[in-house]
């Protein structure tokens, strides 16, 4: 069957099960957009800025587990995707980004809107392609989806010159891919698994550390089995939130810079760490040279390069979390670990990190807790980056798998709004709440129009403190309270929402919180709440940069000395 390049792309996308594309047209992709109406199965969502397309595809991918797809034109369209692609790369999110390129005769001539996007994205993609002829296109799309979705997932970019979209070629969609040297290991090595089981069976104070890898491989049941059978407390990273039920008696919460004190202290006391699908990021380990000094580490990850990168591992297991865990569970013996569980309960009692102080002030922690109460914990929460993200991580209890969506590795402010759009597209029947700061929200606020145009019922909570809050917190704690460039003038968010046709309400006192959230839930379509929270509220607990994981500030430093440590 002879087809044009643009048709080949669309046919291939359909064969890969693509239903939604987030994109923004332009000169180099005109032939592609001209072809789209022939394929009504492909729903195109027009964003207002290409960064929004990449983040929306990212959110969609995290929500569905399928590769998110975004389109952009050459030059500025492609460079605007870069932040979103990098974000997906660092958080191992499957994504296929398609960019237009100037026509082949113009490549290398600095033509209008020409940029070397494959060169730019080498370090932030799993792989990328410049298509040089329509004949190659189907095989490249097949490979791109295969790479994006297998092994450690990640973004793949396909750069297609304008004249390739118009070029005729024979279309047959390949049934298999052959990429020499690419063979992700799924099964863990049986010997290593046995070694790990032995360590687990012998350990007195083991903890499990989970990351996004558990969510990617949907290893929820296997993880639960391991934890319950061997009575091992479970601690998660930021992106590991909702890999294990937050209300489970064995769940200790998040570790790291703003982790629960009891989680950090448990890691410090542990004799064995079973790390699953996480990569010992510096925000998770704090001072890595003093991380878990009493513990041996079992590291399960699908990416062999993560093993031994940041911490020394006693038993490395390369493989898919779910496959490895189900094999591991066969060798792990049931234990009660009464002493250790008692100690864990004691730590939890002594360090109740997520208590909200009694006050009439409008505290962000209280707001998040009420969103939890009103949604009965059934919402998917999409956050920005900074204080709002940490509060959302700490004060909402995530019992449903994969219900927390956030930019972890790159820490991209502005992720929240477009990502929430993608999540809502992927989960139309679920309640989706976006939690933003007033800073990050203004970075991609233009996507409100996208939300309205597509009638996506995203509920939005802005934690408005008039500051770039997390930076201000650091300035307060480590830079002598010199608030440089952090006081932030925002628009009237209620009026702004109104301008987009989105109902909105401002909340200035504690008593208005619950009614406002209820109203948001009862109002069909999108809804925005501008919470005027306590301006100088900080995120605690906190491990100062350079400090060890057990050196925790549980409250402002003037009120309480750091505890733990050696």
């Amino acid at each position: 069957m002879k087809l044009k390049g643009a048709q080949i792309l669309c046919e291939s996308l359909i064969r890969e099960g693509v239903e939604v594309i987030f994109g923004f047209p332009g000169g180099a992709v005109l032939p592609l957009y001209d072809t789209l109406p022939q394929y009504p199965k492909l729903r195109h969502i027009l964003v207002r800025h290409e960064q929004g397309a990449a983040h929306a595809a990212d959110g969609y991918a995290r929500a569905t587990g399928k590769a998110g797809v975004c389109f952009a034109t050459s030059g500025p369209g492609a460079t605007n995707l870069v932040t979103g692609i990098a974000n997906a790369h660092l958080d191992s999110v499957p994504m296929v980004a398609v960019t237009g390129q100037v026509a082949r005769p113009f490549i290398g001539k600095d033509a209008f809107q020409e940029i070397d996007i494959t060169g730019i994205t080498v370090p932030i993609t799993k792989h990328n392609y410049l298509v040089t002829k329509a004949d190659d296109l189907a095989a490249i799309v097949k490979e791109a989806f295969y790479l994006a979705q297998t092994g450690r997932p990640g973004p793949v970019l396909i750069d297609i010159p304008k004249d390739v979209f118009d070029e005729q070629a024979n279309f047959t969609y390949p049934t298999r891919v052959d990429i020499p040297g690419y063979e992700p290991r799924i099964e863990g090595h049986p010997l290593q698994i046995k070694k790990a089981a032995k360590l687990i069976n012998e350990a007195k104070w083991p903890v499990i550390l989970t990351g996004r890898g558990v969510i990617i491989s949907r290893a929820y049941a296997e993880l639960k089995e391991l934890a319950e059978k061997a009575q091992i407390p479970v601690i998660h990273t930021l992106l590991g939130i909702s890999s294990f039920p937050g209300s489970h008696v064995l769940s200790l919460g998040m570790l790291g810079m703003h982790g629960a004190a009891c989680a950090n202290l448990a890691i410090d006391e542990a004799d064995l760490i079973i790390a699953i699908g996480m990569r010992f990021d510096d925000r998770a380990t704090a001072n890595v040279s003093r991380f878990a000094t009493r513990a041996q580490i079992i590291h399960i990850d699908i990416d062999p390069a993560e093993i031994g990168k940041n911490v020394k591992t006693v038993v490395p297991i390369v493989g898919d979390a779910r496959t490895v865990l189900s094999a591991l569970n066969k060798h792990v013996e049931a234990r009660s670990r009464v002493e250790w569980i008692r100690r864990i309960e004691e730590l939890r009692r002594l360090h109740p990190s997520t208590q909200i102080r009694e006050t009439d002030e409008l505290l962000p922690q209280y707001v998040i807790r009420q969103i939890f109460e009103v949604t009965e914990g059934k919402a998917t929460i999409v956050t920005g980056v900074g204080q709002n993200q940490m509060w959302a991580a700490q004060y909402y209890c995530y019992d449903r798998p994969n219900s927390f969506i956030s930019s972890g590795g790159l820490g991209t402010m502005g992720f929240e709004l477009p990502a929430a759009i993608g999540v809502k597209v992927g989960r139309p029947d679920e309640t989706v709440w976006m939690v933003a700061g007033d800073g990050g929200f203004q970075m991609t606020v233009q996507e409100l129009a996208t939300m309205v145009q597509e009638n996506l019922a995203v509920k939005m909570a802005i934690m408005n403190n008039g500051y770039l809050g997390m930076v201000r917190q650091w300035q307060q704690l480590f830079y002598g309270r010199r608030y440089v460039a952090t006081p932030l003038l925002g628009p009237d968010f209620v009026k702004l929402a109104d301008a987009y046709g989105i109902p909105a309400v401002r909340v200035v006192s504690k008593t208005e919180v619950i009614p406002a959230i209820r109203r948001a839930m009862d109002t069909p379509g999108p809804f925005l709440i501008d919470f005027r929270i306590e301006p100088e509220e900080n995120v605690y607990p906190m491990v100062a940069p350079g400090a060890a994981i057990a050196e925790i500030m549980e409250a402002p430093p003037c009120e309480q000395a750091p505890l733990g440590g050696k």
Binding site: G119, V122, L130, I179, G181, R185, H189, A305, K309, P316
Partner: protein
């Protein structure tokens, strides 16, 4: 980290931009390399790269694993501890007057070098050997005035019939076998 210089050999797909992917990874992860040599391999469509990494400044195992992740890198092996043959080629342009010329020719012969070009004022010498020999030659020639040096960097391979793509009992490696041979299922995962 070890203080040793490590030799990594890579089999890579001969595709545009592959060298860029490799060097980009080396740069962004702040790996320190002494040399990189690229050329055709025995298998059509695949190139061979040889990389020398300073174990004193760089975690060699991380280099190996990160490079192995690049799509298009088929196989990468640290052959430092294997029985290997390693060579480097250097071209040295040295000042030569009628008075010094014969001495330079003598030196070149001792090192089994070749003279590629002779002008009234200079000689270009080709020398092949391991790095120590090449360094020694260049060091000696410095006394005469070295104008220019071009070195290939180390190329290396293991001795015997086994190659990165060949296992005992296997015939000549063919491109279609590459995928199979490159899988490392037999080895336990290493840290």
């Amino acid at each position: 980290m070890t203080t040793m210089k490590h030799t990594l050999t890579m089999l890579v797909q001969d595709k545009p931009g592959l060298l860029n992917r490799v060097t980009s990874m080396i740069r962004r992860r702040n790996f320190n390399i002494d040399s990189i040599a690229v050329g055709a391999s025995a298998v059509e469509g695949f190139s061979r790269m040889v990389l020398v990494v300073d174990g004193a400044t760089t975690a060699v195992e991380q280099v190996r694993k990160q490079l192995d992740k690049i799509i298009g890198v088929v196989k990468i092996t640290d052959i430092t501890d294997s029985d290997v043959v390693a060579r480097e080629l250097a071209l040295v342009k040295v000042e030569a007057s009628p008075e010094t010329r014969s001495e330079i020719i003598q030196l070149t012969n001792i090192f089994r070098g070749n003279m590629l070009d002779v002008t009234p004022d200079s000689i270009i010498i080709e020398v092949t050997g391991d790095e120590d020999k090449v360094n020694a030659m260049i060091e000696l020639l410095k006394g005469f005035g070295v104008i220019e040096v071009a070195r290939t960097g180390r190329v290396a391979m293991t001795r015997g019939v086994l190659g990165p793509l060949k296992k005992p009992g296997q015939e000549k490696p063919k491109a279609k076998r590459i995928k199979k041979a490159a899988s490392r299922k037999e080895e336990p995962p290493v840290s």
